[in-house]
């Protein structure tokens, strides 16, 4: 309930940002829009194609398959990372040296650049020289992510879990730290079980940070590109070709700029739509009267 003060000079201060956003986002986006509605054979000659590319893309089985893989991947990593993050946060030391150490160790994966994460796992999992790959072979497990689709999936999921669970855990940890001690004491006096403490105190108090964690992980994983590209390159076959990998194949590999542009616009709108739904639900829930 902040008050508004009118001072029109304030708009001047926004101008530089506005200019920056124009160059970095709006102009490239308009280029994409241009490609999406036109056909071109090079030489900067464009022919109006209307909704043609969109229709083609909506009916493309290749796209449906990629979308299905994408949803499956995002669903699986959310189902693993969110509960795992909560469990990790619940078991972290609350204060002192060990708490700091835990925080530093957990922040490490988050600080590694995406392509490096991909490279690490690519090498780590290789059957010929990778530690994981060799170990699996030594244990007699038939593991090869370059030829077996299931192995490729498992590798990518474990990699994502390794990379991102700390984010969920850190958010939850911060949420847990903000619960006043009186709540835990009251629960002890009420002889509440550990599960009930989680169910009725911790989970409700975490609901805010959890929605943010889910939203962030959803958006991020739905757009995942670098790591699977480095590890599997979308293979074997098309087994790990997620939406953005498919998009890049289409645009750069095949140079189908029109369909790719239509595809990327739809991709963008889908993410925007889902984020908006999320935001609306979160705000509506807060409006229920949490003081």
């Amino acid at each position: 309930m902040k008050g508004k003060i009118d001072n029109n000079r304030a708009w001047l201060l926004v101008l530089p940002v506005l200019a920056l956003v124009m160059f970095s986002a709006v102009i490239p986006l308009m280029t994409v829009v241009n490609y999406a509605f036109n056909d071109t054979f090079g030489n900067n000659q464009f022919f109006w194609n209307g909704w043609g590319w969109f229709e083609e893309m909506l009916q493309s089985e290749r796209l449906h398959a990629a979308l299905g893989r994408q949803l499956l991947f995002t669903g699986i990593i959310l189902l693993i990372e969110i509960p795992l993050g909560i469990v990790v946060a619940l078991n972290m030391p609350k204060k002192g040296f060990w708490a700091s150490l835990c925080l530093i160790l957990m922040a490490l994966p988050l600080l590694i650049p995406f392509n490096v994460v991909g490279t690490i796992w690519q090498i780590f999992s290789r059957v010929d020289i990778g530690l994981l790959g060799r170990a699996m072979a030594a244990l007699g497990i038939d593991y090869n992510y370059t030829s077996d689709p299931l192995d490729a999936w498992v590798t990518l999921i474990i990699m994502d879990v390794w990379h991102w669970t700390s984010l969920v855990a850190l958010l939850c940890y911060a949420g847990l730290q903000s619960i006043p001690g009186a709540y835990y004491q009251a629960a002890r006096i009420d002889q509440s079980s550990r599960w009930n403490v989680f169910r009725y105190i911790e989970l409700p108090k975490l609901s805010g940070v959890l929605s943010i964690a889910i939203l962030l992980r959803f958006i991020d994983s739905f757009m995942i590109y670098t790591e699977p590209f480095v590890v599997t390159g979308g293979g074997p076959g098309n087994a790990t070709t997620f939406l953005s990998i498919d998009l890049v194949k289409m645009a750069i590999g095949q140079f189908d700029l029109g369909p790719a542009a239509a595809f990327s616009l739809m991709y963008f709108l889908v993410i925007l739509l889902i984020s908006w739904v999320f935001y609306t639900v979160m705000v509506a829930r807060d409006g229920e009267g949490e003081p």
Binding site: A182, Y183, Q185, A186, I189, P204, E290
Partner: protein
């Protein structure tokens, strides 16, 4: 239910403490079963430490805590069978009011019908019966604190209910209602109640016995009336009452006290006390006259509705005099008369007793 005994309890937050570091100095006290007690003192006086020792959140550095005959010093909170109401409302947001109140009973495996009956009884007594099926989230803080209060009351067999400044977040108008309900709950259920507060009105109106703490030390344990009429320590005199007791340096000899050369009659013979001697008298008992008495300079008069507070100066000391009834009107005089039966003599801050004739 049981009586609670604190035997030679002392506590320090630092490991190897000298006596001056003690957050709570040595204390022996028995809380009678079914009593209503208040722990009263300013912030940092050790009252919360004492409460935490009883609840089991803190293990005292020295001494034992007994519930009945059982030594519970090393027993954790959840096994002490106590209830506690905190400064800020602690409610389970996602549960309904009914579920909140039933929670401690359900955890102990009560029968459904019994739980329902008990919850409904408690809810009726604190005026929550219309809200039982509302979700706790979104209720205002006053009601949330009532829920916490109700959760404290709902178990019949608790050893004690501890209150940690429970009315802090409550609106003044609502405080009356909640205090009244607390009193009637105490009468109805007969639980032992221990109430921590820095607010003298809350302590004195709630408790049968008030434990007054000052710098980690219990300076007086007594009925509200005793704390008001016969403060054992000048801090009690100062802290209880609004405004607090007046203290003036005086020379005492036998049945007389002398202030600025003026003789004041005393009810008892105090001999010649050594040390720093002060005369203490409540502002309510000083009478303004134009006859015999201490000459005083009237510095101001404040009207607080039901009474007037006269600010007076005597021999370099500031004194308050309370006149019953508000409104205007002339003061009866500018001399102060101290009725002997209401005068206390304090030697190095502690009240001393004289010889009665």
């Amino acid at each position: 239910m049981a009586q609670i005994t604190l035997a030679n309890i002392a506590h320090s937050y630092a490991p190897a403490a000298s006596p001056s570091d003690l957050a709570l100095k040595e204390l022996n006290h028995t809380w009678q079963d079914g009593g209503a007690y208040a722990l009263l003192g300013p912030s940092g006086c050790g009252k919360t430490t004492l409460l935490n020792i009883i609840s089991g959140l803190i293990t005292p550095s020295r001494g034992r805590v007994l519930f009945g005959d059982q030594d519970v010093t090393d027993i954790p909170t959840e096994q002490r069978n106590i209830a506690q109401v905190f400064q800020f409302p602690v409610v389970y947001d996602t549960m309904t009011v009914f579920e909140n109140l039933a929670f401690p009973l359900r955890n102990r495996g009560g029968r459904r019908a019994e739980i329902r009956a008990r919850v409904e009884l408690v809810a009726r007594m604190i005026g929550l019966d219309d809200l039982l099926h509302r979700r706790a989230r979104g209720l205002n803080p006053d009601i949330k604190q009532k829920i916490s209060l109700g959760r404290g009351m709902v178990r019949e067999s608790v050893n004690a209910i501890l209150f940690d400044e429970p009315l802090t977040v409550i609106d003044p108008h609502m405080k009356w209602e909640l205090r009244t309900q607390l009193k009637s709950l105490h009468r109805e259920f007969g639980h032992t109640m221990i109430y921590v507060t820095h607010d003298q009105t809350e302590a004195l109106t709630f408790a049968d016995k008030v434990v007054m703490l000052h710098q980690g030390q219990v300076v007086q344990i007594g009925s509200p009336e005793a704390l008001f009429e016969r403060p054992e320590h000048s801090f009690v005199g100062h802290f209880i009452g609004s405004p607090g007791m007046n203290f003036i340096d005086a020379r005492v000899a036998g049945r007389s006290a002398f202030i600025a050369g003026c003789e004041i009659a005393l009810a008892q013979d105090y001999g010649i006390p050594s040390g720093h001697t002060q005369l203490g008298i409540r502002p309510e008992y000083i009478r303004l006259t134009d006859g015999d008495g201490l000459p005083a300079e009237i510095k101001g008069i404040e009207d607080v509705g039901h009474r007037r507070i006269v600010r007076a100066g005597v021999a370099g000391f500031d004194l308050n005099v309370v006149l019953p009834g508000g409104g205007g009107g002339e003061l009866p005089g500018a001399r102060l008369h101290f009725p002997p039966e209401h005068i206390g003599i304090y030697q190095d801050q502690w009240r001393i007793e004289g010889q009665s004739p």
